[in-house]
Symmetry: C2
Subunit: 311 residues, 2 copies
């Protein structure tokens, strides 16, 4: 660890709603560094030896917990909380699941699926034989006490929360609007890697150690999360070559679904993947981009699969 | 030119609808190379010396023309037309406009705007003093005769058309489903560069010389456009560092609008841009990505601005 934390938050110090009524468990000064020890998004219900049968018995009242809240001295409503993402350290395993009723293609995949990936220290993990995905750990959930609550921890909103944004890796800086005194930051939902969209609803879910620096910005007034991506290796890596499938439709959700379905078809015909494992791979490694959002009445969502995962 | 074209298509050989009733103007064998000389998307109505007043008198019946159609021997319905994008050469100028009633934020920007960019031979163009955008020329419109018609050339669909997809640069290969004998390819709408989304509805619009190789693929059966992005410099360039604004909403269109509005705010407060010129810059250089499309009821669209444009 390069930075000494001001405080440490143990893995059992979590809560299960975004709610301004939840009191802070610790307080740091502006500029304080917090180390979080985080269970995976199942709250420890799923392990490296779990099977698909365990998806059926998952207690959804205990998922997507977030650890905290951490009060930051001097933060007032209308300020911005600057969250420097200093370090993320994933566990040596992670899970990806298709959970019935959840995910972009829930109608296409009514049955549960569960897939475990071993996570090495290096830059890539073997998701399937011959398919290695780049590791870029981050936390799906980072947020402050919302304006009103309690709110579920599933949908993100102006306070942040479950943004599931893969670009929030170590070295990035997140800015969150402050709604209540002391801001009260919580985080969780460790992801070893993910594609833009997280189409099956889960990434490579993993326990995570996270280190963040929390600074009050009196000069900045935001209405929703904004962030600066990381410099260094994350910025220097090449764009890379991609195979891309399009969805073209009058609404972006349908376009996103169609683009993903066509990517699943391509992963089947070119790489021999069964549809459900292709769906999980899309969630972990394929990016949804809005190619055009103006040529009424049809929009284009494109699913980009980096070819480097097959090298 | 590295490849000798089989045929040349002059700039006045265009049509103004996607329509299977339009006869081919030329025929090439499978593997034939076609060179297109293309007017800009205004059909030559706008020039480097036009002003915002010319937006008001634009004849919309003459915009988004496409040149062709080119018949490809042996192409049959159910085949795929492989379009290798060999070369794109933009003119030495281009225009970007906000056109009343058109664009993602048409309600926010009711007045017309018109901006001319000088386009050098090099890799970047000065869009504004101190803001240089990377040039990555492509054609917004590439399509085959649609299943039924006539259709407007504005919305894209399964036949391709106005996909406005910035990743279709030289070196990429586009695959289009074939609906009619000889496929009948047309293209137009030269863009010197664009962001994912093309939020104001125009890119850097420019006359273009395009060179493509057309090959019939009997082994491939698609339902919509798919493509392989370019190898070489386009793939090797770094991802780069970005400032990102989020839109979080129950529908992706609203999320895209909110993310773009917040990016316009950031370009104002950090870089001193007036809202309308920031809107044009977003269309030219900012990318809309779907960060998450599963955490019901709220989705996240993120607008990514590459910081390299300010170097």
């Amino acid at each position: 660890m390069l930075t000494t934390p001001t405080i440490h938050v143990a893995r059992d110090r979590f809560h299960l709603a975004w709610d301004p009524a939840i009191p802070a468990i610790e307080t740091v000064p502006s500029g304080g560094v917090v180390e979080f020890d985080l269970l995976d998004a199942s709250g420890g219900q799923l392990t490296a030896s779990s099977t698909v049968a365990d998806i059926a018995t998952l207690d959804f009242a205990r998922v997507d917990q977030v650890n905290g809240p951490i009060a930051v001295e001097d933060a007032e409503p209308g300020d911005t909380l600057q969250v420097e993402l200093l370090e993320f350290e994933h566990a040596d395993w992670g899970w990806t699941a298709s959970i019935p009723g959840f995910g972009l293609l829930a109608e296409d995949f009514p049955d549960p699926a569960y897939h475990v990936t071993q996570l090495p220290k290096g830059p890539r993990a073997e998701f399937l034989p011959g398919i290695r995905v780049p590791l870029a750990p981050f936390c799906g959930e980072i947020g402050v006490a919302p304006a009103t609550g309690p709110l579920s921890t599933i949908p993100p909103d102006a306070h942040g929360g479950n943004m599931d944004t893969r670009h929030l890796t170590a070295g990035a800086t997140l800015f969150l609007p402050v709604f209540h005194a002391a801001a009260r930051l919580s985080m969780g939902d460790g992801h070893a890697t993910q594609g833009d969209g997280e189409v099956c609803g889960t990434a490579i879910e993993t326990p995570m150690r996270a280190l963040v620096r929390l600074t009050v910005r009196k000069d900045l007034h935001l209405t929703a999360p904004e962030f600066l991506t990381a410099a260094g290796p994350a910025a220097d890596r090449p764009v890379g070559r991609r195979y891309v499938t399009d969805g073209i439709a009058p609404d972006l959700l349908t376009a996103g679904r169609d683009a993903t379905r066509r990517m699943i078809d391509w992963l089947g015909r070119e790489h021999g993947l069964e549809p459900v494992i292709a769906y999980l791979l899309c969630s972990v490694a394929v990016d949804l981009r809005i190619s055009e959002i103006v040529d009424m009445p049809n929009f284009v969502v494109s699913a980009h699969c980096p070819l480097a995962i097959f090298d």
